[in-house]
Amino acid sequence: MEGGPATAGPPFKVRKQGQQQMPEQPGSTGHSMRRVRRKLDLFHVITWLMSVAAVVTLLWIVVSIIIPAWPAIQKTGFGFFMNTAWDANRDRYGAFPFLVGTALTSLIALCIALPLGVFIALFLSENFLPLAIRQTIRFVVELLAAIPSVVYGLWGIAVLIPIVQRFGGLLSDRLGFIPLFQGPVFGNSTLTASLVLALMVLPTITAISRSALVAVPGTLREGSYAVGATRWETIFRVLLPTAAPGIVAATILAFGRAMGETMAVAMLIGNSPRLSWSLLSPGGTLAGLLANQFGEAKGLQISALMYAALALVLLTLVVNMIGEAVLRHAQKVTAGVR
């Protein structure tokens, strides 16, 4: 056991604390011990109850979505996820375009925000600039997370839509042969929504990646320099791989947030249930569909929307499970260097 000397420390300290307490309550050691144990028991019970409550709440939410969704589940079955037509006036419900829209916007947002976020995190955790400046930049980036969703939506309408309208035209003229950039160009499009999502998840990725990078033991960096590695070699071969589990966790959290984001997306994506290859066309997401249609829905439409909500919950669950698996794998791989 290499950890021998380390574990020898705490008991000594505890004994010392015990010795300090002893004079205060002479002769009541047994009593106080029992009291401590009872307190621990109460604490134990409370924590236990709280964790059960969390699990029960999740189950409760899922069950209370499934019950109203049942008529739609019975009627449309698994075809709900495959059908491309959402015609409320004809009671035909297919969520495929919204599933695609949800996945697509979140993925594009991540593709933009992940490299950007990790580079910002690297910059903030290295000593390229004086600490004060880095702290300010960090504070500002994290403030991005505090901006309400609807404000991002308004900003998107005022700033992003005109940009997409202008440069989208150029894009479709030059690259229109690629289905992704086919015209006609809409200001309210999948691309606009993805861009604003990228900005919204940037602080999540930056903050968590930065903490992961800062937490890399200094000895690793020193070791790397000692064997003659340059700074960039150290960053890419030592720091980033060691911080990888944290960066993966950041990515998953960001993906979850992007998929569930409602207000800003509903304001910018154009809310179209039609399937289109082009990023410059309007699209739709599950969360946006729910926000748009739930208020005025009736009959089977309510049920179908609940089914869509269930799909959204399951989608997030699956993403989180995949993320968890990746995280564990990454931890195993980097366990040696930690």
């Binding site: 409320a88 006036n89 004809r90 809409f186 154009g270 809310n271 249930p273 039609r274 309007p282 005025e296």
Partner: protein
């Protein structure tokens, strides 16, 4: 000091509470489109009847019908009236009263074009996604001398369920068999083209922010937001712009069935009639358990039908034609 202040304010609150309790409170909920009109009625009516408290929540037609059916409110409001199935679900019975009316206009964003005329072929083609450019011959034909850009048309529609969509799709289904077949009518339909926004204000914003856009909104919204809207070709081949008068022409042709005040004006062949207009309804119980409440609702709606109509024009609505007001007052008498 603090305590006495607290006690003082508590006493005032209590006093206020009992004062309200002595009067009658009416809760209403439903459509957003007529909300400004109802708020105005409430303000004016409670001025002369301070013992009545009325509160109207603009939660949307669908939610209004739901709350009314569950008897959570004294009256509901809906742009699409109520279907027979919905009426059957209300135990205490339903009286539908047309309360006010409005037209649906096609607002557009074409810098420099102020008076756009759209033929039936043109606007049904646009909303079917067949007419894709502003320079299309179908549009150019009826707008000689107007310089139409060679840009794409962005069709703006509603993303939420809406009475406005219901009225507009009903009209398009009447004039175009292809639309009826491909899209159909309903409060929420899948448009073959374009972008969608939530609420009249959402569509208004979409039209405003994208040059080349066209969208359907309530007349009042287009007017208040100073959007340009197109003159539409009516059944007699005239191009008519939406005004209070041209909408009233259309409303006047509505034929109600004898037992229920529920009908939509269907594309009349009148020279000056604007083709897309509709009523919006108040939903009342046939029998109120609380007699005082029933009486209060009846009086309030009576006020709205008689004196309330004069606010219509300034708020962007169409005053109800005389014969419909009379029918409404008659129906009010059946409430117990």
């Amino acid at each position: 000091m603090k305590i006495s202040l607290l006690l003082g304010s508590a006493a005032t609150l209590l006093a206020a509470g009992t004062a309200f309790a002595a009067g009658i409170q009416l809760q209403g909920a439903g459509a957003t489109f007529p909300a400004p009109m109802y708020q105005r009625w409430i303000a004016e009516y409670t001025k002369s009847n301070p013992n009545v408290q009325i509160n109207y929540q603009a939660v949307g037609s669908g939610a209004g019908i739901k709350q009314f059916t569950q008897n959570l409110v004294a009256f509901g409001a809906s742009d699409a009236a109520m279907t027979d199935n919905e009426i059957a679900a209300v135990k205490q019975g339903v009286v539908l009263i047309p309360a006010t009316a409005g037209s649906v206009v096609l607002a557009y964003n074409l810098p420099g074009v102020t008076d756009l005329k759209l033929s039936r072929e043109a606007y049904s083609g646009i909303f079917l996604g067949k007419t894709k450019k502003w320079s299309d011959p179908a549009i150019a034909k009826t707008n000689p001398g107007v310089k139409l850009p060679d840009t794409a048309i962005t069709v703006c529609s509603r993303s939420d369920g809406s009475g406005t969509t219901f009225v507009f799709t009903k009209h398009l289904s009447t004039i175009s068999p292809e639309f009826k077949d491909k899209v159909g009518e309903g409060t929420s339909v899948t448009w073959p083209t374009g972008v969608a926004g939530k609420g009249n204000d959402g569509v208004t914003a979409l039209v405003k922010q994208s040059p080349g856009a066209i969208g359907y909104v309530e007349y009042g919204y287009a007017k208040n937001n100073k959007l340009a809207f197109a003159s539409l070709e009516n059944k007699s081949g005239q191009f008519v712009t939406a005004t209070t008068a041209s909408g009233a022409e259309t409303l006047a042709t509505t034929k109600f069935p004898p037992d229920i005040l529920r009908a939509w004006p269907s594309d009349p062949e009148v020279k000056d009639a604007y083709p897309i207009a509709t009523f919006t309804w108040l939903l009342l119980d046939k029998k109120y358990e609380n007699k005082d409440q029933g009486e209060a609702v009846r009086k309030f709606v009576e006020f709205g039908l008689n004196d309330g109509q004069k606010f219509a024009e300034e708020l962007g609505y169409i005053p109800l034609p005389k014969e419909i007001v009379e029918k409404g007052l008659e129906a009010l008498k059946t409430i117990q």
